[in-house]
Amino acid sequence: MLAKPRFRWLPMPYHSILLFVTWLLLNNTVAPGHLVLGAFLAWGIPMLTSGLSHPQPALHKPIKTLRYALMVLGDIVTANLEVARQVLGPLDQLHPALVALPLDIEGDLPITLLASTVSLTPGTVSSEVSQCRKFLYIHALTMKDEAELIATIKQRYEKPLMEIFSC
């Protein structure tokens, strides 16, 4: 999508919006002077750097992305309580495991998002991706059943990501 800019004078519209919002947050103000300066920076920095960007798969479903982010946030909060209980409880009931998760999604950005989600939702840390981008190695703090863990991750996180990037 970014390989061929749609607008010549605004090569990366999403990045521009992100930069603008970040500038306002950084200065914690909506004063007119900062609005002008932020708009200038949000226009100028992508103009200078757009030549360096790699083409990335496009987001197809913005609303689904938002819902996915909220779901992950909820999972982080609820499942962190579980990890707190496991950490403070008796340690010999923990059964750690190293699991290879076969990946169905393709592309660096979707795999990165999946790995970050897996790392943030408690109980699992993604530790390595195979060179062929087909397997994600996951370390689980405590695991009852390998097939169940893989099925949960695939069902809950990989499927919505595949829909978002439609790959």
């Binding site: 790392s119 530790s127 390595e128 062929c132």
Partner: protein, 134 residues
């Protein structure tokens, strides 16, 4: 009003501090590196989220008409970078072949993982839940 504001901020502060403490207790207690990695990356990050939300609520509602949301920037930054640094540290541990405790299942995956290869066909054998002695 002021009392309710202080109560809400206090609750968020206590939740945040509690999770930060749990993260460090986990860092101290858990037996091997890969298990230790779990506690700080998740519990501590969530704890920071709680503290920053408390700070955001306090500075926004303390004086009317003054919105303070720049703590959001630190929160988002931490939530983006925590899994990345956790992944890098797990990678380091795998490549240095650190010992995992003996009841860790799937230890035959350490070798292919540290060379970034696909797992061998012996994957099915690790499936039946038998712990592999190191």
């Amino acid at each position: 009003m002021n009392f309710i504001l202080e109560l809400v901020v206090s609750i968020f502060l206590l939740i945040g501090g509690g999770f930060i403490l749990v993260g460090s207790i986990g860092l101290m207690r858990l037996p091997d590196f890969m298990m230790r990695l779990h506690a700080p990356t998740k519990a501590t990050t969530l704890g920071m989220g709680g503290l920053l939300i408390a700070s955001m609520i306090l500075f926004t509602l303390r004086e009317p008409g003054h919105i303070s949301v720049h703590e959001l920037l630190i929160t988002i930054f931490l939530f983006i970078t925590a899994p990345v640094s956790a992944h890098m540290m797990a990678k380091t541990a795998l490549h240095q072949k650190l010992k995992m405790i003996s009841r860790t299942r799937g230890q035959e995956l350490i070798d292919p993982a540290s060379q970034q290869l696909a797992p061998k066909q012996s994957l099915e054998q690790g499936n039946d839940g038998v712990s592999v002695k190191s």
